[in-house]
Subunit: 399 residues, 2 copies
């Protein structure tokens, strides 16, 4: 599905400009706008060092209504002290003024280099020019404008009906494998013209983020600027979608699928990544434990390097299971590469099956299934291989 | 200090053979022997998947007396099921029989590839030949025999006096940056001819391991076979060394220094490592928090890759501080590279100082000091850079 095929989402418009914040001269300033104030929910970085735009945006999103999101790339406005906060508030005010709406209804976000002040003259010059550019088909340009080290643009969509009334979900993300805390890692924006009950919107977003953006790891680092927002403006004229209903379940499922799609795009874009690997853990005592084991395996440099080497090195996997900090019984562990069992009851199944598993590792996408045989807890993590390009990109990045 | 200069430790003898367990034909079977049963203490892997030799050795060490340690390289005897346990017990029995001592007094350890059964015929053939080779100057050969991917042999020693009576501590270690769970990562053996009070010996070892082997990270993986043992045989005829005495403090300090030396050798040998970096955190609310922040920075792939790139990228460091899971006040954080302040109160100090810091990064060994200005908690971690050789060694290892 190419960006050109993105559906219109009723009542939403998009604009992007080259404001000169990126030295490359590429698109670097974007606006997402709803014709009416939209219900909103957000998930933000858990990093104790939080960039200034998040400090400004979080209380606004918590109020439950949002009409516009201003995003720049090229500068993260993080570790910029009092000046950074003043600049983020100024951007917020400039956007509100240009759109003729309340400052409370504007979210701001930044992604780029840490520790440099925002070039405010460029914001002052370009923000007022954004509203005239707004168009309903501009989402792909916004996706382009929020890129930093991303190798490709990340968008996706879903559609469904409530009471015969069609609605859409449109998602835009940036991030190359959560590996750039100083490039503000991961941003995602979902807009929907469905009318979704406020609390349910929040619950859906949190659950979907837990199973998608919070279940990917290229290197486990968490950025100062991570942000996921959803805006629901009701312009599709659907009946209100609530929890514990078939429509609610459908909406939650669609949002989940959409965010998993976007998250897997981020893993695929993990700088230098050549493989996307699903680490699925089954049979844990509970689902928290399952996720913890999956994370331990997904973030092991040794496991990730073996993926690059196309080596069915289950010893590294079983070691990562063992140090996950979760109770396991080593003598019950089974491990599969797709359908190939390489470990049964904690013991290797022999050279033939290991060679078959090595064939699985040659695929660009495969699954590692770890069955702990202790309970019914299940969890999943998406990861990539670790290879020379990761080192190259990250060692040379600022030089 | 080269291996040839290792001091004799009274009452201890060492032997090593090429038993053909390693394909290379190098030394791969070693014996450490005390002429009398020695008091002992041990620290073992926390990995839930524990190799068979540890299952055999842990209860024996907990009894408090040990007279011999049998170590092989080339095969970890991990994930080998019931057979592995029988083999470890057989090795234990073979060594006890050859030495004419109780099986309870023999510790066994293995390091090498995971998941392959021990070649027992080689053990049966070579263990009986070890006792005749025992000599008091053989420690360097033992250090050689326990190597796997180690680029160099790791030994160290300390000496002191109690009541005019000299005693020695001799340490032997193997490990290349904790990066080889399938090569049984990290083994260390300390022998001393001092007479150390049993409980105090255990306390000293635990503290020293916490500040040394448990404070290094090349990639954070923990092996199924990690083991640190200390044997104190009293043959120096010192008065007994107890806690809360000047002699006890001195002994604890020497053991600590010795293990930090050995641990830093392991970091320096972190496969492909070109730099050893001390991450020191000061001013945390407590020392646990300080260690947690130091670990978070020391294990960040982004930070470690920036070290390789000789890039004073403090944005990555401050991000790793922020996601450590410890309360911090971003506006109070100072960061130094050796003496160069790159961050004051959470804000970068500018290009000139950053360039000075880049000069510090060119050194093979330097310190990153992070002051949180919250309390008096202090903690330290030792880490290395992450570079192309890490990928090369670990992607190609089994192929």
């Amino acid at each position: 599905m190419s960006s050109q095929d993105l559906p219109r989402v009723r009542g939403f418009k998009f604009a992007a400009r080259s404001a000169g914040i990126k030295k490359s001269g590429r698109l670097d300033l974007a606006l997402i706008y709803s014709e009416v104030p939209a219900r909103c929910a957000g998930v933000f970085t858990t990093n104790k060092v939080m960039a200034a735009p998040l400090v400004v945006t979080i209380p606004r999103i918590r109020q439950g209504l949002c009409q516009a999101v201003l995003v720049n790339s090229g500068n993260a406005n993080a570790c910029t002290g009092e000046q950074g906060l003043r600049d983020a508030l100024a951007c917020n005010a400039l956007a509100a003024q240009a759109l003729g709406i309340s400052e409370d209804l504007v979210a701001v976000a930044s992604t780029g280099v840490i520790g440099a002040p925002l070039p405010m003259n460029k914001f002052e010059q370009h923000i007022p020019l954004l509203p005239a550019q707004l168009e309903s088909g501009g989402a792909a340009q916004v996706a382009e404008a929020i890129r930093t080290t991303d190798a490709f643009v990340k968008t996706g969509w879903r559609e469904a009906c409530v009471a015969g009334q069609p609605y859409h979900l449109l998602g835009i993300a940036k991030g190359a494998g959560m590996i750039h805390p100083n490039m503000a890692t991961m941003l995602a924006y979902v807009v929907t013209d469905a009318q979704v009950e406020q609390t349910f919107l929040d619950v859906c977003l949190r659950r979907a983020v837990a199973g998608s953006f919070n279940a990917i790891s290229v290197d486990g680092d968490t950025s100062t600027n991570d942000m996921v927002l959803i805006l629901s403006n009701g312009q599709a004229n659907t009946p209100e979608i609530c929890g514990n209903t078939p429509e609610g379940d459908e909406f939650a499922g669609l949002l989940n699928d959409l965010l998993v799609d976007l998250a897997k795009m981020i893993v695929r874009d993990g700088e230098g990544a050549t493989k996307v690997v699903e680490i699925r853990v089954r049979g844990a005592a509970d689902s928290d434990g399952a996720v913890q084991v999956a994370r331990s395996v997904a973030t092991s440099n040794l496991v990730k390097t073996a993926f690059f080497g196309e080596d069915a090195n289950w010893g590294r996997i079983i070691a990562a299971v063992g140090y996950a900090g979760v109770e396991v019984d080593p003598d019950r562990i089974d491990i599969f590469f797709d359908e190939v069992a390489v470990v049964r009851q904690g013991v290797g199944t022999g050279k033939d099956l290991e060679e078959q598993a090595s064939e699985v590792l040659k695929k660009p996408e495969f699954q590692v299934l770890i069955d702990l045989h202790l309970g019914s807890g299940e969890g999943v993590y998406y990861t990539s291989d670790l290879n020379y390009d990761y080192i190259k990109i990250n060692a040379d990045y600022r030089t």
